[in-house]
Symmetry: D5
Amino acid sequence: MEWLVRTHNRLPADTPAAERERLRAAERGRAMELRAEGVLRKLWRTPGSTGTVALYECRDATHLHDVLSSLPVFPWLEVSVEPLATHPQEAHAAALAAAHGSHDHSEGYDDQPV
Amino acid sequence: MEWLVRTHNRLPADTPAAERERLRAAERGRAMELRAEGVLRKLWRTPGSTGTVALYECRDATHLHDVLSSLPVFPWLEVSVEPLATHPQEAHAAALAAAHGSHDHSEGYDDQPV
Amino acid sequence: MEWLVRTHNRLPADTPAAERERLRAAERGRAMELRAEGVLRKLWRTPGSTGTVALYECRDATHLHDVLSSLPVFPWLEVSVEPLATHPQEAHAAALAAAHGSHDHSEGYDDQPV
Amino acid sequence: MEWLVRTHNRLPADTPAAERERLRAAERGRAMELRAEGVLRKLWRTPGSTGTVALYECRDATHLHDVLSSLPVFPWLEVSVEPLATHPQEAHAAALAAAHGSHDHSEGYDDQPV
Amino acid sequence: MEWLVRTHNRLPADTPAAERERLRAAERGRAMELRAEGVLRKLWRTPGSTGTVALYECRDATHLHDVLSSLPVFPWLEVSVEPLATHPQEAHAAALAAAHGSHDHSEGYDDQPV
Amino acid sequence: MEWLVRTHNRLPADTPAAERERLRAAERGRAMELRAEGVLRKLWRTPGSTGTVALYECRDATHLHDVLSSLPVFPWLEVSVEPLATHPQEAHAAALAAAHGSHDHSEGYDDQPV
Amino acid sequence: MEWLVRTHNRLPADTPAAERERLRAAERGRAMELRAEGVLRKLWRTPGSTGTVALYECRDATHLHDVLSSLPVFPWLEVSVEPLATHPQEAHAAALAAAHGSHDHSEGYDDQPV
Amino acid sequence: MEWLVRTHNRLPADTPAAERERLRAAERGRAMELRAEGVLRKLWRTPGSTGTVALYECRDATHLHDVLSSLPVFPWLEVSVEPLATHPQEAHAAALAAAHGSHDHSEGYDDQPV
Amino acid sequence: MEWLVRTHNRLPADTPAAERERLRAAERGRAMELRAEGVLRKLWRTPGSTGTVALYECRDATHLHDVLSSLPVFPWLEVSVEPLATHPQEAHAAALAAAHGSHDHSEGYDDQPV
Amino acid sequence: MEWLVRTHNRLPADTPAAERERLRAAERGRAMELRAEGVLRKLWRTPGSTGTVALYECRDATHLHDVLSSLPVFPWLEVSVEPLATHPQEAHAAALAAAHGSHDHSEGYDDQPV
């Protein structure tokens, strides 16, 4: 199931640089693990802020909570999650693309490794 | 440039079924054109509502406005757009995946047809 | 997966009584079907309004959307859904109750027919 | 009377681990007492946050306040309570289930120990 | 149990005067019944609007809903209810007043001089 | 003139217990004075929070401000005030009650049984 | 007692011009009466809207409600009222001005032509 | 040009009394200067809070900003400004008053000493 | 003085095309007049909506109101205005540019025709 | 592409003056660089606050984020960005001005000195 997850990082501005860098590295490491598992699908920045918008693939809300609370900066994160329902057009578009043997730019999400 | 576009369809509940179906077919047709152009990348439904969340790829806000105002149901749509900035982790993840020759599930968006 | 679903019924106040009654009966019929399927678990009223709060059990957001959009009054409903994650205390409480052979009042949700 | 109670835990992120653990254990202990009394009926987590959604059974608002203010982390909790009115469908569903001798999955709440 | 109930009357401005008057008389009649039952305790106007703030005494949220939905203008009312918990000071004040045989002004709004 | 006054107590959670108790006692003392003057008419708790809802009788906004700013915890209070206009039904109800010599339950909140 | 009163005029845009003009003339007439009574002290426009901000002098909220509900366009007005408490600086400024025999520009409200 | 300026004073509650008094005296001094210049026309208190509502006369937004940022407590003030447009009724009322030689209570703002 | 003006056009979706076109042409005509007067400086579209953001140069709020209320679609516009204060950096930048004889891209607003 | 960027500076009020001045100078220096690059086009102050409204020219959201996060006070800034779409009237106005050889005050942004 797909989720849109929005975060704001409230790590105090006066956090020592070393600690900030340690957390950033740990955060990146954990994110790479989640990407490898196919859980973290895409990550964007909200321009002008420490916020992010991300797309996650998780079985359900309990799985999603376990994933998010495993992030090193979780104690300082303000998080809101939004469940996404599949739109019938997606199935229709994928079928069309398959029929035309063409590559549907929107496949991205369910792009099976060739 | 990537955009997160949220819509709520305010087409009155008492719109005649035939007109509603005409608009739905026209909307689907236009959406397929935008997919073929690589402009509409992904479309989800907000569960329990006539709302949608979509990912668009448009040069800038003017291009995005022209695209959205070309949708047949535009006069009844309440739309909010959110610009998305690329997160440095994406580049990092893509590089890692390329190095490992593995398929990065998150490539979806910059997935070039093989 | 469990969902908290909140609705406000915007059926116009001047809707003819017969039509209102037809919709109410159809709504109740559909609700009974959903209860039998174990999808609609509990339904409350928001005191003083036409709103309801309900607990649903659905596989994911797509299943939930299909269920909600099957309700006869869906075109007039304002709906907001909230995904619920299992709290570790629930598992702990169920285990304690089983150990004491006592009946845990809170089992309600995962109460298997004896 | 049933209440939907929403909490956000504002315990500062830099609270010493030992104190955090002490409070967590005390909180769990108190919760078990409230379950045994049939006051705390069900507890969920809001995915991605330290928030919870819970269902309480309390005589009135005064009883509910006494219960909530007895929680060890109460001084750091942001709480909102929502009174729930019984929906006539619940009575109807229970009657149907009794008539068919079948188990109504939605009984959960008024499930008498067998 | 005491409730603070806030209403906004959305009866369309172009409702015929006769119908408006019929509803007003029916509303006043019903209110008098509720006062006689000790359910409606006090009613104020929100200055400058068709809104009211009222104090109700009802067993629980279900009783309160039945009372509010019995009001003739209920289909056009926007209602929000707020449960009120007894403050320990009230008991303390009543005890002091009894002990001093004096009359505690806070007992009644239009407390008749003994 | 009657006022509905809502407060949230933002006294920091880590305030020493002795200071908290001193303030509580001073607050109660001041409240009793205001009750004796007929200024503080009724006080409730917002269930689950340190908030209160109260009914005050003050000549005007200036008098109300002087009263509220005289409360010992005023520096930590978030206050919102709502002016209440007399509803014509109240006069009507009082007249009816007087005519019937009966006791109008709405006269006092804790109307002592005759 | 002074009040800041904010209004938004929701008279439908397609109201016949003659009716709109009738209401405007009636509104102005009523306003002049209220000025003569010293009730309406000052009236401004919210730039770019049909809204107004006004300063009223009324005994209490009940008097204010009677005044506002006497305005011809009241059925289409969205009104919010804000009670204003006298600031101690005003008294101080008036005293200073009197002592210096000078004209205190801020006297505006109670300015008697010298 | 007239402005409605709303402030909330966020000076921390635990600010030493001496510093608080120094700031209060400096604030009053500056306010008196602004009154003498005809810039600060009227000042009210928001009942129950440290907030104020004031009427300023400033050439434009830049002049207003310079004035507000010159207030000693400016670093702790949360300020919102609202531009006010002259209402045609004011001119009409002033003309009427002049014609009748009577005193228009509402002249306050543009009252030129005769 | 500079103003940021935000509008949302609430012209009903079912307005006849001819009337919509008449209003659009009248609106454009009026806008050109305002540009020639140096009042309308810049106009943008809010992407995905019928809203606009514009920069106006008007003496004060009264002048701004007269300008906005002269727009043909004013009766259907929801407008919010924001006064802008000159930032000291602008003067600094203009001085620097003049000293270097270079063209300061940001001069745009106070660009006098050479 | 043009962006409207709104900032609120949350630098704590008790920041040492020297540090505040260092940041202010660094901020001005960076702003001048961005002006020279044609990225920062115009900067205003929100009257009465430490907030600013600015107009930026950036390729896309990623470029805009890099620019904003390069500002020395970025860690203390609350930022919201708004993408602006070109309005067809602008092109129309520019064409008219060119045809009449006159100077269109609104050219501001793309004003090449004649």
